[in-house]
C-alpha cells in the first residue's frame, strides 16, 4: 500500500498544491480553464469577412423578417481558434492514449482516411448532382459494398443507415417487411439480457414487443430456453456475436437453424465484428441481417459522439426489402445503386427510404481507404491482434480481478472483469475514476448488465505491447488500492480538469442552454 509508482506519486498526495494560494486566473500553468462563448463574445463581432456591400431583402419578405439578428455570440478567428483549442485540451482521446471502452472499438484513426475524405471530388459534391457527374462517388459506394459483402459472406447490403442503431432499425424493418410480405405478422422480438440497449430500443421503436432470453452460466445465449420460446409469434431474435461478454456464441448456427425452423429471422448486432473480420464470415453462421459500425471495425473517427455509419448486410431472404438507395448484387457479379426512379422495377419490395440522400458518404471514403490499406490479409491480422491483445489483458490481470467467464477459456476482442473482491464500499466506479488519475480513459463500466459491477476492456489491435503493459500496471495498481480500501480512491479523479460531477443536480434541475449570469448555478 501507498507504494510510489514509477513517477513517485503516492495516493496520499491528493494535491500538488498543499499550502499554495490559488492563482488569480483560475488556470494552473497548462491546465487552462475556458469560459463559454456567450461570456467571451462582444456583440456584433464576426470572424468572417464579407467582400461585398450589405444588401437589403426583397419587399415581398416584409412581415416575415427577423426584427434583429439572432442573439448568437461572434468571435474573431484568433479568439475562436483559442477557445476551441483550449477546450480540446480538456478531452481525453485515442491520440493521447488507450481508450479501452469495451463494445466501442476505439482504435487508431489513420490520417490518410481524413486526407482522402477531404479531396474535393468527395467532400465537395452535392447528393443530387446528375449521376453522370459523380461516377467516382458511386464507385466508392460500390467498392465498399463489395468488400462488406465479401467479408461477411452475405447477399446484399443497405448502405444508407446513419449509425449502428439506425442499422439495427433497418434490419428489424426488413424482418417486419418480410413477415408482412408472406402474410405472417409476428409481434415479438427476443433479445438476450446482455444485449446493447439499442437492441430492445430498436425493436420497441419499430413497434415490436420485446422479451428477454436468458444466458447460460458460461455467458452465452441459452439455446434450450431460446428454442423453447420459439413459436408463431416470434418475429426474430437479436443476438450480438461476439457477444457483449466478449465471447463467441458457439451455438450461433444452431440458433439460426432453430429460429429459421420456427419461421423467424436472426438479426446479428455487428458492433463486435472487429473480433472476427477476415476470420469468420457471419453469413456462414446463417444470420439474416447485421449492421457494421464503420466507426468501430473500419476506424472512421468517433468525433466525440459521431457521426457513425451503419451499413447493413442482408441475407438473400431479406435483401429484397432493403431500403433505397440500395446497393444490389446481380447474377453477373455487378453491383448497382437503385434509387426511387428504378425501385419499382428493380427493387419493388423495398421498405423505402430511411434517410435523405445516400448515407454517410464521408464515412464510406474513410472506411474504404482503411480497408484498402489493410487488404484481406491485414484485416485478418486486425482481428487476430485485437483478440491477442484482449487475452493478454485478461491473463495479465485475472489474479487481481475477478474474470466471470475467464476460467472457461479465451475471450475474443474484449476482456470482462467484475468488481468482486474489492474492499467494502469500493466498486467499479472507483476503479474507473482511479484510472483517470493514472492518465487512462476507463473501460466500459456496468455493462453488460448480466455481470455485477462489470468492467469491459477492449484494447483493440492498435495498442502496442509496451502500451498495454503500462495500462495493465496502472489498472493493477488501482485495483490494489480498491482491494485495500484506499479512501482517496473514493474521491478520484483528483488530477483531471474536473472532479466528480454532480449528475443528480444536472438531472433534477436541468440547465440545457445558457441563459446568462442571472441563472448561474
Amino acid at each position: 500500500m501507498n507504494a510510489p509508482n514509477s513517477s513517485g506519486w503516492r495516493p496520499e498526495m491528493t494535491s500538488g498544491e498543499a499550502g499554495l494560494a490559488p492563482t488569480s486566473s483560475g488556470d494552473r500553468a497548462l491546465a487552462l480553464e475556458e469560459a463559454l462563448i456567450f461570456e467571451l463574445a462582444a456583440p456584433g463581432t464576426t470572424g468572417v469577412d464579407f467582400d461585398h456591400e450589405d444588401e437589403g431583402p426583397m419587399p415581398e419578405l416584409a412581415g416575415i423578417l427577423r426584427p434583429s439578428p439572432p442573439a448568437l455570440p461572434g468571435l474573431s478567428e484568433p479568439e475562436a481558434v483559442r477557445h476551441y483549442t483550449r477546450l480540446s485540451r480538456q478531452n481525453y482521446a485515442i491520440d493521447l492514449g488507450p481508450f479501452p471502452l469495451g463494445s466501442c472499438t476505439m482504435k487508431h484513426n489513420p490520417r490518410l482516411n481524413e486526407k482522402v475524405a477531404r479531396m474535393p471530388g468527395f467532400a465537395d459534391i452535392h447528393p443530387l448532382q446528375p449521376v453522370e457527374t459523380v461516377p467516382g462517388a458511386l464507385a466508392v459506394i460500390n467498392q465498399l459494398a463489395h468488400w462488406l459483402i465479401a467479408l461477411t459472406g452475405m447477399h446484399g447490403v443497405a448502405m444508407t443507415p446513419k449509425a449502428g442503431a439506425h442499422g439495427e432499425l433497418c434490419g428489424i424493418l426488413c424482418i417486419k417487411a418480410a413477415l408482412e410480405a408472406r402474410g405472417d405478422p409476428r409481434g415479438v422480438i427476443l433479445v438476450p439480457e446482455s444485449a446493447h440497449g439499442t437492441n430492445p430500443a430498436t425493436a420497441g421503436f419499430a413497434g415490436f414487443a420485446v422479451e428477454n432470453i436468458p444466458a447460460t452460466a458460461d455467458g452465452r445465449v441459452d439455446l434450450a430456453a431460446l428454442t423453447a420460446r420459439l413459436g408463431p409469434d416470434i418475429a426474430g431474435v437479436m443476438i450480438t456475436n461476439p457477444n457483449t461478454c466478449g465471447l463467441f456464441e458457439r451455438d450461433m448456427k444452431a440458433i439460426c437453424d432453430a429460429v429459421h425452423g420456427a419461421g423467424g429471422y436472426v438479426y446479428c448486432d455487428g458492433a463486435n465484428f472487429n473480433a472476427i473480420v477476415g476470420k469468420v464470415r457471419p453469413g456462414d453462421l446463417g444470420i439474416d441481417a447485421m449492421h457494421i459500425n464503420l466507426h468501430k471495425t473500419f476506424s472512421t473517427p468517433h468525433g466525440g459522439g459521431g457521426p457513425g455509419s451503419g451499413p447493413v448486410v442482408l441475407s438473400e431472404a431479406l435483401s429484397p426489402f432493403g431500403p433505397i438507395p440500395f446497393t444490389a448484387r446481380y447474377e453477373d457479379g455487378s453491383i448497382r445503386l437503385i434509387e426511387e426512379e428504378d425501385a419499382g422495377a428493380e427493387h419493388p419490395q423495398t421498405i423505402g427510404r430511411m434517410a435523405a440522400f445516400h448515407g454517410q458518404m464521408g464515412m464510406f471514403t474513410r472506411a474504404l481507404t482503411y480497408i484498402l490499406s489493410h487488404g484481406a490479409d491485414g484485416l485478418r491480422q486486425v482481428a487476430e491482434d485485437a483478440v491477442l491483445n484482449a487475452n493478454y489483458v485478461l491473463r495479465s490481470l485475472d489474479d487481481v480481478l475477478e474474470a466471470p467467464f475467464g476460467g472457461a477459456g479465451p475471450c475474443m476482442h474484449e476482456a470482462l472483469f467484475s468488481d468482486a473482491g474489492m474492499a467494502n464500499g469500493f466498486s467499479t466506479l472507483d476503479i474507473a475514476k482511479g484510472l483517470i488519475d493514472e492518465g487512462f480513459h476507463p473501460m466500459t463500466v456496468y455493462f453488460p448488465l448480466v455481470v455485477h459491477g462489470a468492467m469491459l476492456v477492449e484494447p483493440t489491435e492498435t495498442e502496442s505491447k509496451a502500451g498495454l503493459d503500462r495500462f495493465i500496471a496502472s489498472l493493477r495498481h488501482v485495483v490494489e488500492r480498491a482491494r485495500a480500501g484506499d479512501a482517496t480512491l473514493k474521491s478520484a479523479p483528483h488530477f483531471a480538469p474536473r472532479r466528480r460531477l454532480d449528475e443528480t443536480l444536472a438531472a433534477r434541475r436541468p440547465r440545457l442552454v445558457w441563459r446568462g449570469d442571472a441563472e448561474a448555478v
Binding site: 456496468y446 449528475e503 443528480t504 438531472a507 433534477r508
Partner: protein, 123 residues
C-alpha cells in the same frame, strides 16, 4: 388510516375509499437520488400491478405499480419541482398519487408494516 405494503416496495395508506400511494423508505434507499417522477393523469384507471408512475434516478428508471385497482384521483404536485421529496420523506410528503379504490378487498393480499419489515430483512 391503515398502511399496506407490496413486495415491489409500494405503500398505500387507505382512508375510506381513497388510497395514497408511494414507495417505501427502503425502496428510495435502493434507488439512490431521485431526479424525476413521472406521474399518471388524474382520471386514469389502473389495474392492480399495472405501472402507475416512473421514478428516475441518474442511471435508472423504475416503474411504480398500482398496489390495487382504482382510478387516479390526485397526484403530488410538489414532486415536479422537488423530486427529492421521495428520498427525504418517502412515506409521507413524498407520496406519488391517490387512488379511488375499486375493490378494497384487494388490500387483503398486501402486507402490513410488520410483515413488510420482515420481508425487507430477508432481502
Amino acid at each position: 388510516m391503515t398502511v399496506y405494503y407490496t413486495k415491489e416496495h409500494e405503500w398505500i395508506a387507505v382512508d375510506g375509499a381513497i388510497g395514497t400511494v408511494g414507495i417505501s423508505h427502503f425502496a428510495q434507499g435502493q434507488l439512490g437520488d431521485i431526479t424525476f417522477v413521472e406521474l399518471p393523469a388524474v382520471g386514469k384507471a389502473l389495474k392492480a400491478g399495472e405501472a402507475a408512475a416512473v421514478v428516475d434516478s441518474v442511471k435508472a428508471a423504475s416503474d411504480v405499480y398500482a398496489p390495487v385497482t382504482g382510478t387516479v384521483s390526485d397526484v403530488n404536485p410538489a414532486l415536479e419541482g422537488e423530486p427529492e421529496l421521495v428520498n427525504t420523506d418517502a412515506e409521507s410528503g413524498g407520496w406519488l398519487l391517490r387512488l379511488t379504490l375499486s375493490d378494497p378487498g384487494e388490500l387483503d393480499g398486501l402486507m402490513d408494516r410488520a410483515a413488510y419489515d420482515a420481508y425487507v430483512a430477508e432481502l
